[in-house]
């Protein structure tokens, strides 16, 4: 007993001829259907090329537009011809002109011989398919589709919509339970002839003629009526991408295809000479009993589809520029933004770098330049420290920085004196961990040697900017992990908030902080705030900062806050 190959061809006929010859020379009869839209000379050439082979026949030609009945009609005629002409055929294998056998023909024959009653056809009820493109599954069987999906998409869609609205439904003939599956099957003579010789075939065909994409449902449905043993999988390795078109195999897939142990793969790029050479001319070396194992190829292609539909989180590039909120992650990794810490601790950045095990930047958005860690003039990805370049596109600057340093958490300082255009972006970024000590910007002013009227003006400006920033952080749209303390609350007990933030940055560092940054000398700061008030400015962001802070409590150790050991 042997297997007969029904080949549906429409392009790359010279490759089809090559494959047909391969089958035929190994005693597998071939019936070829060539799309009627193929021009006469090309058809004639294929015919002549194969004329020396006695077991190759050509069936009546139909026009096979995608998604229409033509493909089923072509399959029916070719299969009937196969059954009638080659009596020793037990299984009929449906293949396309761009299919390529991956294992020796004898292995396929032996495999089928040991399963003489099994029909290999993917056949799934409409409730269970997850792969239909365009959301049409059951409706393929109940609506009418007079318009071409490819050429008249708008008409197609609106006609579907109209039918849904008026509640139109075609009646499904009795005894038919819609099933769908891959077009490529391998059926036994018994099953196939039962389908083709069914006395009601005319009625059934009339119904399926108007079903959408009948080549994925005609045999898949009818096989359930007649077959004793359906193995619901295809012997043809064929993967579809997110648009519903098949993935194509190239020369560099050779090893993957070899190791897949599948019998036939679709679809092969016609110019993939190496694949055709490897699988058609050289003898295969597969293990005779191996079951097909397309797992690796499945993963490769599903990764490709994911790359196309989801992309890499936080990456902005020439072919990925998502609308706002469609980024699937505005940035590629978590990062921490500190506001006010560098102002009230004297050595905050080196300390942070040490305890968090990362490099802590200064004010990345400072007006004079980008203060990278270590005052580098360039940083990962050749990011420049030029403030003009950064301010030209602050969003790109930040996403670039986070992308370029994947694997290393970024921490940087921020404040009301910095470029504020980035604040909405950070506030709405779930990757941002934003910690703010409100009013801490007043500490450098307090320590400065400026005239008080300038200080007062500066303080008013800073307060206004920080209030705006806080209202952004507190808005309903903010997605960042935000923590806000007033200066007064923070200096009261600095270690607890620090511990919380550091724990979040490096959760694996279980030990508690043993070294704290040195607090700036705030003696007289309360009075400084009072002076601002006296000058008519109302500092509201520092909380209830005691006027006598640092003075009434001489026993308090200045500098290092108390540590719980």
């Amino acid at each position: 007993m042997t297997v007969g190959i029904v080949m549906l061809c429409h392009t790359a006929l010279e490759r089809a001829a090559q494959v047909a010859r391969h089958w035929a020379e190994r005693d597998c009869p071939v019936v070829i259907h060539v799309d009627r839209r193929v021009k006469k000379p090309a058809y004639q050439k294929l015919f002549d090329d194969l004329s020396d082979l006695g077991n190759v026949q050509f069936s009546a030609r139909h026009a096979c537009e995608w998604g229409t009945w033509g493909i089923v009609a072509a399959t029916q005629d070719a299969a009937a011809m196969m059954l009638a002409s080659f009596a020793h055929v037990r299984h009929v294998f449906l293949a396309s002109g761009s299919c390529l056998p991956l294992r020796p023909v004898e292995e396929l024959v032996a495999y089928l011989d040991s399963r003489p009653r099994t029909d290999f056809i993917e056949s799934v009820t409409t409730e269970d398919v997850g792969w239909t493109i365009g959301g049409l599954d059951f409706e393929r069987f109940t609506l009418r589709f007079p318009f071409s999906w490819r050429k008249q998409r708008r008409l197609f869609d609106s006609y579907v919509k109209l039918q849904r609205r008026v509640g139109f439904r075609r009646k499904i003939p009795d005894g038919i339970v819609p099933h769908m599956g891959s077009q490529w099957w391998c059926l036994t003579r018994q099953t196939l002839s039962a389908i083709l010789e069914n006395p009601e075939r005319e009625d059934i065909d009339r119904y399926f003629r108007k079903v959408w994409i009948p080549d994925e449902s005609y045999f898949q449905t009818l096989v359930r009526q007649v077959s004793a043993q359906v193995e619901s999988r295809s012997l043809t390795l064929s993967k579809f991408d997110f648009q519903g078109k098949p993935h194509i195999f190239y020369d560099d897939h050779l090893q993957l295809l070899r190791r897949s142990d599948c019998f036939v793969a679709r679809k092969i790029w016609p110019h993939a000479d190496m694949l055709y050479d490897a699988f058609l001319t050289k003898a295969g070396l597969g293990q005779a009993a191996a079951e097909p194992n397309p797992g690796k190829i499945d993963r490769l292609f599903s990764k490709a589809v994911e790359r196309r539909t989801k992309g890499r989180a936080g990456l902005i590039m020439q072919s990925r520029f998502p609308h706002e909120n469609w980024e699937n992650g505005r940035t590629s990794a978590p990062y921490s933004v500190f506001q006010g810490f560098a102002e009230i601790f004297e050595n905050f950045e080196p300390w942070l770098g040490k305890v968090a095990g990362t490099r802590a930047h200064g004010h990345l958005f400072a007006p004079d330049k980008v203060h990278f860690a270590g005052d580098d003039p360039v940083y990962n990805g050749s990011l420049s420290d030029s403030a003009a370049l950064r301010d030209y596109n602050p969003r790109s600057f930040l996403t670039n920085l986070i992308w370029n340093t994947r694997g290393e958490r970024q921490c940087f300082q921020y404040g009301p004196a910095d470029n504020q255009t980035i604040s909405w972006f950070m506030a709405c970024d779930p990757n941002a961990q934003i910690s703010v000590i409100t009013g801490a910007w007043a500490v450098p002013l307090f320590q400065s040697n400026a005239n008080f009227s300038d200080i007062r003006r500066q303080a008013a400006l800073m307060q206004k900017l920080e209030l705006e920033y806080l209202s952004i952080l507190r808005s309903a749209f903010a997605k960042a992990r935000v923590r806000i303390w007033s200066l007064a609350d923070f200096v009261e007990n600095p270690m607890e908030p620090l511990q919380t933030v550091i724990d979040e940055i490096s959760p694996r560092a279980v030990r508690r902080l043993t070294e704290a940054p040195r607090l700036a000398d705030l003696a007289g700061f309360g009075q400084f705030l009072q002076n601002l008030r006296n000058q008519g400015m109302q500092p509201v962001l520092m909380g209830d900062f005691p006027v006598d802070f640092g003075q009434s409590n001489p026993n308090r150790r200045r500098g290092r806050p108390y540590l719980v050991k």
Partner: protein, 336 residues
């Protein structure tokens, strides 16, 4: 997009096309072999001036990718470029003594040639110092890509310009004829690019890289654009608007995904910064034939006087397309 602005874009496209037709008289045929172009051939279109030393490698590179025919406009070369090209069997050559600037930097000339010869062909419009890199370019010829694009109903393919530079001064290693320029200019900037959407034409505007970092750090808005759409399934109704940065109809500029996914894209490796650069910059300054008063070349000349080194310790050394893919400069999309 309102009907009115759509109509205005249509008018603009017609205007560029008529301009190209009007400018066709400026081209004088030198060696025309367009009769050899077969229906599905892959075509390269180029304008150049005095690039003799680069040409052998340029032609070889694209022949190896599977390009079938080159259509080249020579802008009055006097270094033997014209004679060399005229001898090549797969080159059709035109020459023009007219202003490069007033042909909008060659765009009008090439628009005309594309209109005439490229209808329904995949076309690649590149300069002689631009080398197209796409996913799997080391194992799959260009036709594999165009076949896949055809099957996916994609008409245009993005390839961002990636400036390549040597370590140290440009003239430390001289470039020899036939040599791969990336043996010298091995380095590139991997992650300092700025992306903005152009609302009118729908393309992305990309700036950055070593030129922005070194020459335009104080006026970044003048840094050269790096977005390019060089590979297009051409139709005679199409027109490039400004270099290969953008096209009309504007749908062709939609080479990026807006819903979080990645479309497939490539890179144009830019071998500009070789020892030939100083002479070129000087010549272009003399001719005043470059974009926006040649301010770009002015900036280069100023910088060149201090013998710049574009290399920095974060420069990446070029390995292959997979490296560019991992760095996020290009993408495989759903091509696997």
């Amino acid at each position: 997009m309102s009907i009115l602005s759509r109509y205005m874009l249509r008018l603009a496209r017609q205007r560029w096309r008529f301009r190209a037709i009007r400018k066709r008289g400026e081209l004088r045929p030198v060696a025309i072999r367009t009769g050899r172009i077969a229906p599905s051939d892959l075509l390269v279109f180029t304008t150049l001036r005095n690039e003799r030393v680069r040409l052998p490698f340029f032609l070889k590179y694209y022949r190896d990718l599977g390009v079938n025919h080159f259509l080249i406009v020579d802008n009055d070369s006097d270094d033997g470029s014209r004679e060399y090209l005229a001898e090549q069997g797969d080159v059709s050559l035109w020459t023009s003594k007219h202003s490069y600037k007033r042909s909008r930097f060659g765009v009008d000339w090439l628009n005309w040639l594309q209109m005439k010869y490229a209808d329904d062909h995949w076309t690649l419009v590149v300069d002689p110092d631009e080398f197209f890199v796409y996913p799997f370019c080391d194992t799959r010829p260009l036709r594999a890509l165009t076949d896949w694009l055809d099957a996916s109903s994609i008409k245009s393919f993005s390839a961002m310009l990636l400036d390549m530079y040597p370590k140290g001064r440009f003239d430390v290693m001289p470039y020899n004829e036939g040599q791969n320029p990336f043996e010298i200019a091995q380095y590139f900037d991997s992650g300092n690019y700025s992306f903005v959407r152009n609302g009118k034409f729908g393309n992305l505007w990309i700036q950055g890289g070593p030129r922005a970092r070194m020459f335009f750090r104080d006026n970044p808005e003048r840094a050269p654009a790096l977005n390019k759409i060089p590979l297009v399934k051409w139709n005679r109704r199409y027109a490039y608007v400004s270099s290969t940065h953008m096209l009309l109809p504007r749908g062709l500029n939609q080479v990026y995904d807006e819903w979080g996914g990645e479309k497939a894209s490539g890179c144009l490796l830019h071998a500009k910064f070789l020892d030939t650069f100083a002479a070129k910059a000087e010549e272009e300054m003399q001719r005043h034939q470059h974009y926006a008063n040649s301010h770009e070349y002015r900036a280069y000349r100023e910088a060149l006087s201090v013998e710049p080194d574009l290399w920095c310790k974060f420069s990446e050394k070029y390995i292959n397309w997979r490296q560019l893919e991992i760095l996020g400069l290009m993408s495989k999309g759903n091509w696997a």
